[in-house]
């Protein structure tokens, strides 16, 4: 029996939030999911909430985008140890390089297929984050086979 986990998702796209939640529910009913509509909301929630096991972070968001969130998180002594998984439609290599350097653990480009999405979330959930270092650049990107 897996221990109960807490994950945060920040994404301004309602469809993607819906799909993410459905995929998560099909994998694990016990995992707690907190969702934010943008980066600002995420940072507010993080101020008071218990710290999650992992944060899924969209990049292209209004008000405070994913990159800004990542920088803030990594500068905060309290929050910098939370693993960050980038969850974006962008496939721009410059952006991938930037978030890798910014200290994110994984980069997921949003899949077109629900099954693939489930597999990826499952893979992230089963990761033991304790003393899990940032992977190599090749393993950093989780390619969704279309």
């Amino acid at each position: 029996m897996k221990p109960e986990k807490t994950i945060f998702l920040a994404d301004d796209d309602a469809d993607d939030r819906l799909l993410f939640e459905e995929a998560l529910r099909e994998i694990s009913g016990g995992t707690q999911l907190t969702m934010a509509n943008d980066g600002e909301q995420l940072m507010t929630i993080l101020e008071n909430a218990l710290l999650p096991d992992v944060i899924f972070l969209d990049l292209n968001m209004p008000r405070k985008n994913g990159m800004e969130c990542l920088q803030e998180l990594k500068q905060s002594p309290k929050l910098k140890h939370i693993p960050i998984v980038i969850f974006s439609t962008s496939t721009q290599p410059e952006m991938i390089d930037k978030v890798y350097e910014g200290g994110a653990h994984y980069y997921i480009s949003k899949p077109r297929n629900f099954g693939v999405l489930k597999n990826i979330i499952d893979q992230i959930l089963s990761t033991n984050w304790r003393s899990f270092p940032q992977p190599s650049k090749e393993k950093f990107i989780i390619q969704s086979r279309q």
Partner: protein, 809 residues
Amino acid sequence: MIIESPHSTEQFLSGGGELGECIRSTDWSLTPLGPPSGWPQSLRTTLSIILSSPFPMFLWWGPDLIQFYNDAYRPSLGTNGKHPHAVGQRGVECWPEIWTTIGPLIERVMKNGESFYFEDQLIPIYRNGGLEDVYWTFSYSPVRGESGTVEGVLVVCNETTGKVQNLEHAEETSRQLRSLIAEAPISTAVFSGPQFIIELANDESLKLWGKDRRVMGKPVLDAIPELKGQPFLDLMIDVYNTGKTFEGRESVARLERDGSIRDVYVNFIFKALRDADDKINAILAMGYDVTEQVAARQQLADAAERLTLATEGTKMATWDLDLKTFDIIHSPRLARVFGHPESTRLSFPDMRQAVYPRDLRVIEKAFDVALKKGTYYYEARVVHPDQSVHWIQTRGKVFYSDNHIPLRMLGTMMDITERKRAERVIEESEKKFRTLADSMPQFIWTTDRAGKLNYFSRSVYQYTGIMDPKQLAECWWKTIHPEDRKGTLKAWQESQTTGTDFLFEHRFRHHEGTYRWQLSRAVPQRDVTGKIEMWVGTSTDIHDRKLFTDELENKVLQRTNELNLLNQNLLKSNDELAQFAYVASHDLQEPLRKIQTFAGRILDVESKNLSERGRDYFQRMQSASVRMQQLIMDLLSFSRANTNEKYFEVTDLNVILQLVKEQLKDTIDQKQAVILSSTLPVLNIISFQFEQLFTNLIANALKFSKTDVPPLIAIHADKVGRDHVHHKDAEDILYHRIMITDNGIGFEPQFNERIFQVFQRLHGKDEYPGTGIGLAICKKIIENHQGFIEASGQLNKGAVFTVYVPARN
């Protein structure tokens, strides 16, 4: 006991040559020995040995030392000496002259049985009618009788007088030679053997060579290495080989003096020395240093030459004029100045008479000045008796009495016609130069060696409006445009320092106040030693040309700016295009992704609730969205092929092909395709674009394969010239040719060109999926590499796509 018969008595004396005969004929009964029949056996035996020996032997026998000797000994006694009566004689009687020497020796042999041996011992004896110094090598040995006592003294001897004398002679000669050499006042040395070992060298030699005694016994080249390359060694070798004596006079030798190598003049002689066999075995060298004499002689010659030059050079005559009587005394040369023989004596009036009439005033004036001021100087013409006119120059000094009355004038006079002529030549050439310079529209000017302006041609005066030369030289600087002064000064100073041509463009002020551009140029004039004497400069009006050039430059600059602006705009619009392509692909894909995902969700989750038709619609929707996704991605690729992401790198096409084959592995496996390839070149290319090129071409070949035949794709690369490139823009260079041939469905030849256009498709979407962009991308990529691509198809047989890329080294 042996009984001797008379016959046997004679027998021991038989033979023995002259001395045997002599002994036999001697009446021994008159001697203390008595007749031979009574001689003891030991004597007989000894005599027998002596007489038969070819080696000189002598015997003293018995207490009276009666003498015997053999033929070999005989010559030592000479003629007119002791032979033949020495035979049978008592020793003491025979050798009175040396008995004091040999007597004691003989006595010691007789008494003690001792033996003696002497070598080259001088024992003078009486022979050949006088006492001679005779040298002997000899031994005295005892002869014992039957009783064992010493009965006689056997002398085995050899006269060595000749040998000893030879030796002595040689030693004496050598000693004399050595002392002669050592004491010789000139340098004398002996070099022995072919190596020329310094065997003898007197102090003078060492002084000459600049060496000390350590050179003794060394080969000459080791001893005096500086001789290497000088002629002396070859001369010695020659003398040694030919025996011919060589004599050198005032030859220059480079020898050591006070630690450095100097030229030394020597007189010397090399003479071969011979040994007893007349073979050359050494060289006698004698010589002396004549450097000082040579130098002294040269100095004398120099002095004489200078003296000659001085007198001949000046051609100066001297005179002494009595100012009271006007008597004049002059040197013989003065007569020559007036065209007379040197023996002629001229009076003061004679001289005045000879003056060229028009110059008389000059002289009279100079004379008046001299009487007042004390110095006399003029240059004037005189007429020679042959009517030729000559220039003379006179200088004089007046001597006064105590009360300031002029008494005498002493002076010199010389003919300066040549100088005058030369001056006139220079004047004329200068005049020519000025005329030339003044006739030219350019500015001509000169400066002295320090760069100070000292001449301007007429055009400068006319241009500046300054007519006074002095003023122009001072103001010239101010006629240069203030903006150009600093540069002019710098360039001029640079030329002055380095002695190189001055070249500068600057503006000069016209007297009307306008400035015009001039190109100034100055070249240094040098004397024979290369020292700069003056600068000759020109300035040429280049105003119109300059303005034209400036205008041209301005226009070019303006055009360049415009082009730059256009370029920037182009770059900007390219960037905007790239931005648009990115945004379009990203944002268009976003809703598409959702459509795909939700359609997938419906088919997954709601499949049961849908009719057959509904499911079919959903599937069609799915495939339409997949095609749209492909379209977007291809458009993105096409736009990327257009943009300036042109990072060229050296790339191995074999590696690229391998990569592409791996990416297409699924399709290749599924179609059971075979891809053959020759070795592909390594090219400097945009790597990712070639990857795309290969991907598109191979994917095409796989896609358009026949259903019943497994695809065979052959990739071949080689190098070809322009003739093989079927394209009008092909250059005359080598191209890499890469041909990709397949055995697919091909196409009709009339589509060879068309298939490279965007969105051109030859088949329905249902038959062969695709967007019609792939080959357009290929064309773009190849154009990015200054290459060409062509296709040639045959329906149902296959297609060949050929790529040409310039081969660069």
